[in-house]
Symmetry: C3
C-alpha cells in the first residue's frame, strides 16, 4: 500500500518535472528565436514554415548547393527531410549537414519513407554518417534505418510494433550518436539508454499532411534554442506539438480545421496549460 503510493507519487513528480522542462524549453525557443534552415520536401514547406513561426522560430527554406557555404554558418539549426528526394537535393543536404557537424550546430534528420528505394536508403545512411543530433521517424522507418546502419544485409520488414521499434531506436542511437525519436500513438525518445514516452497528441493529426515533417523541424528549433540538453528539447517539442494538436482538436470539425487550430494553439500556448497537460513518462 505504502509502496504503491510512493510509486504514484514518484510518477506524478516525474511528470511535473517533465512538464516544467517542456515549458522552459518553449520559453528558451521564444526568447532566442532560432533561425532554422529547412532542406525539406515540397509538400511540407508551407506547413513546416508556419509551424516554426507559430512556435517562435524563424524558418529559412534555402537549399541551393551554391549558397550553403555562405548561409549555413549563420543558422542556429538545420532540418533535413528526404520526402521528395532527387540527386541534386541529396548533395545540398549532405553539404549543409557536414557544415553543421563541423561547426557544432545541431541538425535533425527525418528519414521519410527510407525503405521506398535503394537510392533513398543510401542517401539516409550517408546522412546518418554526418552525425545528426536527432533522428525522428515512424516505427518502420526507424527499424529499417537501424537495421541498415548496423550492417544487416537485408532490411527488416516494415513493422509498426513499438516494442520492436524501441529496440531498433536504442541500437540506432548507440550506432549513430543521435537522439532517436519514434512517432506513434505514444511518441518515444531515447539516447540509447534512457527511454521516455510522450502521451500528447490526437489521431487526427495523421490526416493532415506533413504534421510529422513539421514536428521534426520543431525539434530542430527546440534543440537549437537549448543545445546543452538535446534529449529534453526533443521530448519537449514532441509533447508541445502534440498538446497543440489536442487543443486544436477541441475546436476542430475535421482535419482541415484541425490544421488551422493546431497552429493557433501552438502560437498561444501558455505556462499553465503546459504544466497541467504535458504527459511524459520514463519507460526504461
Amino acid at each position: 500500500m505504502e509502496e504503491k503510493k510512493d510509486e504514484v507519487g514518484f510518477a506524478e513528480r516525474e511528470e511535473a518535472i517533465w512538464a516544467r522542462k517542456s515549458w522552459e524549453s518553449l520559453s528558451a525557443l521564444r526568447l532566442r528565436r532560432p533561425l532554422i534552415q529547412c532542406i525539406t520536401n515540397f509538400v511540407s514547406m508551407d506547413f513546416m514554415a508556419n509551424t516554426l513561426l507559430a512556435a517562435g522560430a524563424s524558418p529559412a527554406m534555402l537549399h541551393g548547393l551554391q549558397e550553403i557555404p555562405d548561409f549555413t554558418p549563420y543558422v542556429s539549426g538545420l532540418c533535413v527531410n528526404i520526402g521528395t528526394l532527387t540527386a541534386d537535393w541529396v548533395h545540398s543536404m549532405k553539404a549543409a549537414a557536414a557544415f553543421c557537424s563541423q561547426l557544432g550546430k545541431p541538425w535533425v534528420l527525418d528519414p521519410v519513407a527510407v525503405s521506398a528505394s535503394e537510392f533513398r536508403m543510401k542517401a539516409c545512411r550517408e546522412l546518418v554518417g554526418l552525425r545528426p543530433s536527432v533522428i525522428r521517424g515512424n516505427p518502420s522507418e526507424i527499424i529499417a534505418l537501424s537495421s541498415a546502419s548496423l550492417g544487416a544485409t537485408k532490411g527488416v520488414d516494415s513493422s509498426d510494433k513499438s516494442t520492436d521499434a524501441v529496440h531498433a531506436a536504442k541500437s540506432l542511437s548507440q550506432a549513430s550518436g543521435a537522439i532517436v525519436a519514434i512517432s506513434g500513438a505514444i511518441d518515444i525518445v531515447t539516447d540509447g539508454e534512457q527511454v521516455i514516452g510522450i502521451h500528447n497528441g490526437v489521431p487526427m493529426m495523421q490526416l493532415i499532411t506533413a504534421t510529422r515533417c513539421a514536428v521534426t523541424a520543431l525539434i530542430a528549433a527546440f534543440v537549437a534554442a537549448s543545445p546543452s540538453n538535446i534529449f529534453v528539447a526533443t521530448a519537449a517539442s514532441l509533447a508541445i506539438f502534440g498538446l497543440a494538436g489536442e487543443l486544436g482538436m477541441e475546436k476542430a470539425g475535421g482535419p482541415g480545421s484541425l490544421r488551422m487550430h493546431l497552429i493557433d494553439s501552438l502560437h498561444g500556448l501558455d505556462e499553465a496549460t503546459i504544466l497541467s497537460r504535458v504527459h511524459i513518462h520514463s519507460l526504461s
Copy 2:
C-alpha cells in the same frame, strides 16, 4: 401525362442509382486506403495530399527518376499532373506511367494548361500514348488535347463551350482508350459512348488554387479502390468532391474558409448525405 411521369420516375431512379454507386465507391476507398503516388505540380502538393488523406487514401509525393523502379510497383494508383513542368519531371512522369500501364495499375492524367507551350503539348501527347486510365481537364484542355491526339495540324482555338468539349472528349476517349472527364459548371464524364453530367460543386471552388488538381488525384484514389469500374469511380469522385464543396460553402465566408470546410466535409461525408445530395444524370 403518363409518359412525363415515367420520364420523371426514370430520372429519379437513375439519380438514386448513381448516388448509391457513389457511396459504394467512397466506402471502397475508405476500406482499401489506396496508396496513391502523385507526380504533380508544386502549387498543388499540400492541398492534394490533404484531399487524399481526408477522403481516406494515402498520398505519396515521390518523383525521383531513380526511385520509380523500386517504388511505383507498390502503389495502388498514380496521378500525373503537368502544372509546373520541366524536362526532368517529364522523364519521371513517363517512367511511372509506363510502369503502371505495364503492371495494370490505374493512372490518371491532368493535362494542366496543355496549350501553354509546344513542350507541354509534346509531353502530354507522349503521356496519352502511355494509356492513362482517366484524363481530366478543363474544356479548353480537353479540346486541345483531343485535337492534337487526332493528328490535327493546328490546335483548335481555346474554347469553354461544353458542347464542343463533349465531342472532343468522346473523340479523345476513343483515340486514347481513357475515360475522359471535363470540369465545368457541370462536370462531364465519357467513355467514348456514354456521357454523364455531374451537377455537384459550387463556383467558389475555382477561387481555391489546385482544387481541380486535387480532384484528379481523388479520381486516381477512387479508381484504385474500384479498378473494375473506372467509369463509375470517376463520376463518383467528381460528385463527392463537388458535394464536399457544397457542404463547405454552407459554412464558408470566402475562399479561404471554403478550402478548410471542404476538407472537413470530405472527411465527414456520410451515406445519408451522399444518397440525398449526389446529382448525376445521363446526357447521352
Copy 3:
C-alpha cells in the same frame, strides 16, 4: 490655428484621395482579371496563388525555361521571387523578365534574403538590370540591393532602420528605374522622388509564411491591371493587403486562422470599407 486646421484638412483630403485611388485600382484588377506568371519559391506558391485568386487575378505558376518563349508573351504581368533559388531557376527568371521588359509588360522583383549568398546577390543584380517595374523588399534587403546596385564594394550591414531604408530605396529607384517598396510596420513606396507611407496591416501577418511574397505577387496583379500608374497601383496593393489582414485579425485566434480570414477578407473587400480604412500619407 488656421494653419493647423488647413494641414489637418489637407491630410484628410490626401488620405481620402488615396483611399479612392485604392478602390479604383482594386476595381480595375477585378474587372481585368490579369494573368500573372509567378516564378517564385516553393514555400509561397500555394498562398500566393490563393491571394491572387481572392483578389480577382489569375495565377500561373509556370517556370520551365523551354516554355517561357511560348507562354510569357501572353501574360499580363510577372512576379519573380528568389526565395528558394537554384541556378536553373535563375535562367528561367532572367528569360521571363527579359521578355517582359522587351514587350513592355510589367514585372515585379522580390529580392528575398538577397544578402544570404554571393550567388543570390549576383542573380538579383542581373535581374535588376532587366528593368523590373517594381522592387519590393524588407528594409535590409532594399539596403543591401541598393548598395550593390550603386557599386559599393562591400554590402552595408543588415539594418531595419526605415530611415536608412528610405534613402536606399530612393537611390535604388533612381539607379534602376523601378518603383521601390519597403515592407515594415509602415510600408513605404518611392519613385525616387515622392515617398509615401502605408499604415495598413497588423504585426501577426509576419507570423504567416509567405505573406510578403504574396503581396509582391499582388503588386504585379495591380500593376498589370493599371499599367499607366505603377506608383499608385503599388501603394494600393500594399494598403489593400494590409487592410485584409486587419479585417482578418478581427476574427482570428492566431496565425493559422488569420491566414484564412485574410484570404476571405481580401475576396470580400468592398468600396465603403476601403474608403474608410485605407491609410496612405505622403512622407516626402
